[in-house]
């Protein structure tokens, strides 16, 4: 207890004398913790939502039978007829767009009669006003409808016919619909009215879906005679592997048996790299915060040297001094974390939205799950908050413990100076830079670019170590120029920054790290954007592009009716069409897209892909040649992310389960692709139709005949498509849409950058305040020597400006090297994209100007404090 009192008096009480600076330090930590927590919570919420997407009504089944492009309905009967007590639940799974709200929801077709007894518990809840004793929401909904149908006498028949009525649907409560309401749904390219027969509880939208009877669903999605999945509930006896083997033995080779929920697992796995990268990005703010804590505790140690000397002389051990300073920093950490927890929870709401955009654009249709502040998340927040603070405070705290009592007391208060071992630190910086170069060449470990991250960390350390020498050199070279340009303020500012080199260096390093993050991500995103734009120029040679209406998503491939395609192809202004059919498949436990494209255009001499452009293939072969070899054979081309994820290359063979068979395909080449991170396999449409004979394409490209006006053809197509809900884009529109989605995708990284910069600027403000307090003698003296209050203010602002300038320069250099690691190591190993380097000059200039302005703004309050100092009191004290 006496120790606690002592700790309060000597360590904590002084903090209250500088409330603004203390508050800024705590706020810096709180923001760092909040960002990490927000990304963690949002990541969990986003990942959680996968389960609810198609697994909404999957119940307590434990196996699933599935296949690319679905499986024949006949297999349902075959499996049900097996001499085992299996519960068999076939499913149609697709998506429907609610006309009014434009909301895209999973569409689930299930055997509403056969599965009446096996609905999940949530579906069994009796709803107020439902008919009879029936506890099943589906049956009850129809029974209720039947009881209102006065003309009918056979209520049971009516109930059944209502269940299988193609217009009957059941919806989740969060949709806000009532039984009996009519809802227009867009399924593929057709919009139809449906009647809501019942509403089921859907956990506040987390398990919202449109449910219909399986036969009605087959008709609605155009997959008569096929189902997408068969869910199996195996008997209790025997383990799951045995059941899996047993079923595999009786099913066609192309049909897959796997544990139910494997798709969810695949999605989680696919998202792992994205979440991992975001998580690490979120730690940048903490690294910036760590620099600032280091600075805060260093200032604290320097200011208290005489006190340390006194308490050491009075019998305090080194351990006690070390503990006291670590305790001070831990207090910052604990308070910062306590504030960071609610802040992080709040930020998670926005983060989920931003993450959702990226996930949807690049990975999978998802609805964010609920954000839950679990004990594990709280523990994580405390671990990173207090942990980072203690680590960063250890060095100055240890220095404090080594203060010799007599020396400290004799020398009294000293300036915050410097034992900067420039040469040694520059050499260490070189060592770290070389280590970074070496780490950047190491391969990924378990699909994670761990050495890439290490290279980035080494670069940050190298930069931090080189900064003192950099600051000293720049200030030495620039002080006379600054004197001439800015007068006394320029001279004093440059000398002051150089004199307190360690403090200056830490601040520059903190801000430079934040700037480097901004620059490196700016370069990466800018390069990516330019690469995508250039790629689109090569990929979009058609005049018009058509797809079913509805929100586009990377894992949804609604189809266009074949008769519609034929009608469009016959229009007078249409020279040719190209069709692409896409399927979602799983390859080696990861989701991927399988596509079949028309290669017919090559036969007519007009290429789908421009032949005069840069080759889209790794081999460098002309596209025409690759497509010629692809035609009609079991050859495929695969996208770069696919090849990268599965470690495949040209000439490798892959086996795909298609329809009811398994077939081997030869990889003819690998193509650059930036549409999705999921990975694609592309084959000739004719080859695909041999395995999956559904002729409906997912989208199509239209080539306008020579002499025909594109807009006229567009109008003709729109007229021909009356009754179908198709979206027709010009190549320009499709490019614009792609770039819009691209920009939204990276919104979250910009948000993370902003927080890192904010933490750094807060740190600069706090450090400038400390600087004002520590240099008040100098500031007071300035007034005696004829300085105006404006000149005193200017001195602080010039120092802030110089800090911002130094940090910007160091940040740009560090950011450049980090961008190389991001683009060519971390991105390549995580996502497999080849990105061409590009300097987004305007974006960078804007960002750097903003940081520079923010740094100067951060000096306003300290400058005000400096002006308010009373020179008489200061000189009198001295």
């Amino acid at each position: 207890m006496p120790m606690a009192r002592l700790f309060y008096r000597l360590m904590l009480r002084p903090l209250f004398r500088e409330p603004v600076r203390t508050a800024l330090t705590v706020l810096g930590i709180a923001l760092g913790v909040a960002v990490v927590l927000a990304i963690d919570l949002a990541g969990n919420a986003a990942a959680g939502s996968f389960r609810s997407s198609m697994e909404t009504l999957s119940g307590d089944n434990n196996l699933e039978i599935t296949g690319a492009g679905g499986i024949p309905e006949a297999l349902v009967g075959m499996v049900a007829a097996l001499p085992y007590a299996l519960r068999v639940s076939p499913r149609i799974e697709d998506f429907a767009v609610v006309h009014d709200s434009k909301q895209t929801l999973p569409l689930i077709g299930m055997d509403l009669i056969g599965e009446a007894g096996s609905f999940p518990a949530a579906m069994q809840e009796s709803q107020e006003g439902q008919h009879g004793n029936d506890s099943n929401v589906f049956l009850a909904g129809c029974a209720k409808s039947a009881s209102h149908a006065e003309a009918r006498t056979d209520e049971q028949d009516t109930t059944l016919s209502c269940l299988v009525d193609p217009a009957s649907i059941w919806v989740g409560a969060s949709l806000g619909r009532k039984a009996g309401e009519r809802v227009a749904l867009l399924i593929n390219d057709r919009e139809q009215d449906y009647i809501v027969r019942g509403v089921y509880p859907d956990m506040n939208g987390a398990e919202s879906a449109i449910v219909m009877d399986i036969a009605a669903a087959q008709r609605a999605v155009g997959r008569t005679g096929r189902v997408d999945r068969i869910l199996i509930k195996t008997p209790a006896q025997g383990n799951l592997d045995e059941w899996e083997q047993r079923l595999r033995g009786v099913l066609p080779t192309g049909v897959e048996v796997r544990p139910q929920g494997a798709g969810t697992q695949e999605n989680r796995q696919m998202l792992a790299a994205f979440r991992w990268n975001l998580m690490l990005l979120s730690y940048v703010s903490l690294i910036v915060g760590a620099f600032l804590i280091y600075n805060t505790i260093s200032v604290s140690v320097v200011r208290r040297r005489p006190e340390i000397g006194i308490v050491r002389a009075l019998g305090a051990s080194r351990g006690l001094v070390l503990g006291a300073f670590l305790g001070e920093s831990a207090s910052f950490g604990v308070i910062g974390t306590l504030l960071g927890l609610p802040l992080g929870r709040l930020m998670a709401v926005g983060t989920v939205k931003l993450m959702g955009v990226t996930v949807k654009a690049l990975y999978v249709s998802s609805r964010p799950g609920s954000i839950e502040l679990s004990p594990a998340s709280v523990a994580l927040a405390f671990a990173v908050g207090v942990g980072v603070v203690l680590i960063s405070a250890y060095a100055p705290a240890r220095e404090a413990s080594f203060v010799a009592p007599a020396q400290a007391m004799a020398r009294g208060r000293r300036e915050y100076e410097v034992r900067v071992h420039s040469t040694r630190e520059v050499l260490a910086a070189l060592v770290f830079a070389v280590a970074a170069a070496a780490a950047s060449r190491a391969p990924a470990i378990a699909g994670k670019p761990l050495f890439g991250y290490l290279a980035a960390l080494f670069l940050i350390v190298a930069c931090a170590l080189a900064i003192p020498a950099f600051v000293a050199a720049v200030m030495r070279a620039a002080s006379q120029w600054l004197r001439r340009a800015l007068g006394a303020e320029g001279l004093l500012a440059s000398r002051s920054l150089r004199a307190s080199l360690r403090r200056t260096s830490v601040l520059v390093a903190a801000l430079a790290t934040a700037v480097a993050m901004m620059v490196s991500i700016g370069i990466m995103v800018g390069s990516f954007r330019e690469t995508v734009i250039a790629w689109m120029d090569e990929q979009l040679p058609a005049d018009l592009y058509i797809r079913p209406a509805g929100d586009p998503a990377t894992d949804r491939h609604p189809t266009i009716s074949p008769e519609m395609v034929a009608a469009i192809a016959k229009l007078p202004g249409v020279a040719a069409i190209d069709r692409l059919r896409a399927y979602e498949i799983a390859f080696e436990g990861r989701p991927a897209m399988l596509g079949g494209a028309d290669l017919s255009m090559y036969r007519t001499g007009r290429a789908i892909y421009r032949t005069n452009a840069r080759s889209e293939f790794f081999s460098g072969r002309p596209s025409a040649e690759v497509f010629r070899d692809l035609r009609g054979s079991n050859n495929v081309i695969v996208s770069e992310p696919f090849a990268s994820k599965h470690h495949l290359k040209t000439s490798d063979n892959i086996t795909l389960a298609l329809g009811e068979s398994r077939a081997q395909f030869h990889i003819l080449d690998v193509y650059y692709d930036y549409t999705s991170e999921r990975g694609e396999i592309l084959m000739d449409r004719e080859t695909l139709l041999r395995y999956l004979p559904d002729p409906a394409p997912s989208n199509m490209a239209v080539y306008v005949a020579d002499g025909a006006q594109v807009e006229n053809v567009r109008s003709e197509i729109a007229q021909a498509a009356a009754g179908h809900r198709l979206l027709i884009f010009s190549d320009r529109q499709i490019r614009g849409e792609a770039i819009r989605i691209f920009d939204r995708t990276f919104a979250i990284t910009y948000a993370l950058e902003a927080v890192a910069v904010l933490v750094a600027v807060i740190g600069i403000a706090g450090a400038l305040l400390a600087l004002v307090i520590d240099r008040r003698r100098e500031l007071g003296l300035m007034r005696f020597l004829g300085a105006t209050s404006q000149q005193v203010r200017n001195l602080i602002l010039v120092e802030a400006g110089l800090l911002g300038l130094l940090a910007n320069v160091a940040g740009v250099v560090l950011g450049y090297f980090l961008s190389l690691v991001l683009i060519f190591v971390i991105n390549k190993q995580s996502f497999g994209w080849t990105i061409r380097f590009h300097w987004p000059v305007a974006v960078l200039l804007g960002g750097l100007s903003f940081v520079y302005a923010a740094t100067i703004v951060s000096g306003l309050y300290p400058a005000k404090m400096a002006v308010q100092l009373n020179p008489l009191e200061i000189l009198h004290e001295d």
């Binding site: 300036e415 004197r483 007068g487 006394a488 001279l491 004093l492 000398r495 002051s496 150089r498 004199a499 003698r777 100098e778 003296l781 300035m782 007034r783 005696f784 020597l785 004829g786 300085a787 105006t788 209050s789 000149q791 020179p871 008489l872 000189l875 009198h876 001295d878």
Partner: protein
Amino acid sequence: MHMPMLSLCDVTKDYESDGQRVRALAGVTLDVEAGQFVTLVGRSGCGKSTLLNLAGAMDFPTTGEVRIDGTSTSGLADAALTRIRRDKVGFVFQSFQLLHTLSVIENVELPLLFAGQPNARDAARERLQWVELDGLGERLPHQLSGGQMQRVAIARALVHAPKILLADEPTGNLDTVTGNVILALLRRLTREHHTSLLMATHNVEATELADVVVRMRDGKIEAMGRP
């Protein structure tokens, strides 16, 4: 009409300290003529430093009037007070108050830089010659002895050719020999350049060199006359 370089007329100065009003100066009247050397003597806390602060336009009197070269400081805005200090007043302190981050010559030229005057470097070099430190301009203060540091402070105080030099215990941190050298230097320079010198001191030798000695006690002038 004759006008003293510095004139304090019935000046009082009160401070608030822990909610209590403390009178630092009580009805002080004093004139310092151009080129005159006046020493202020008395115990610590008798009001010497307060009087210097008022004389240097660093503070306002509570009542009464302070005139520097004919200009009353009462009611002046901060900028005007700063102008008076820049043009007419130089300060020398007991603890030298050099900026350790600046070289000797940069310390000396600082007031001219604040005033935005051209040729600051030349003027600073000349003042260093005055105090016999030419050749040490590029050194940093910590590379000098105490006496040398005070010479630099004097050069800085004179760099803008002030009308009045205010010195607060300028020999207080120096040994007797060095202190006497500094006193002699101050006396010589102020005489050569017709600069008034108002010095708060405990140094007996200083009082012997002064034209007028002002003895203070409890914020009042107890006695005033030739040494």
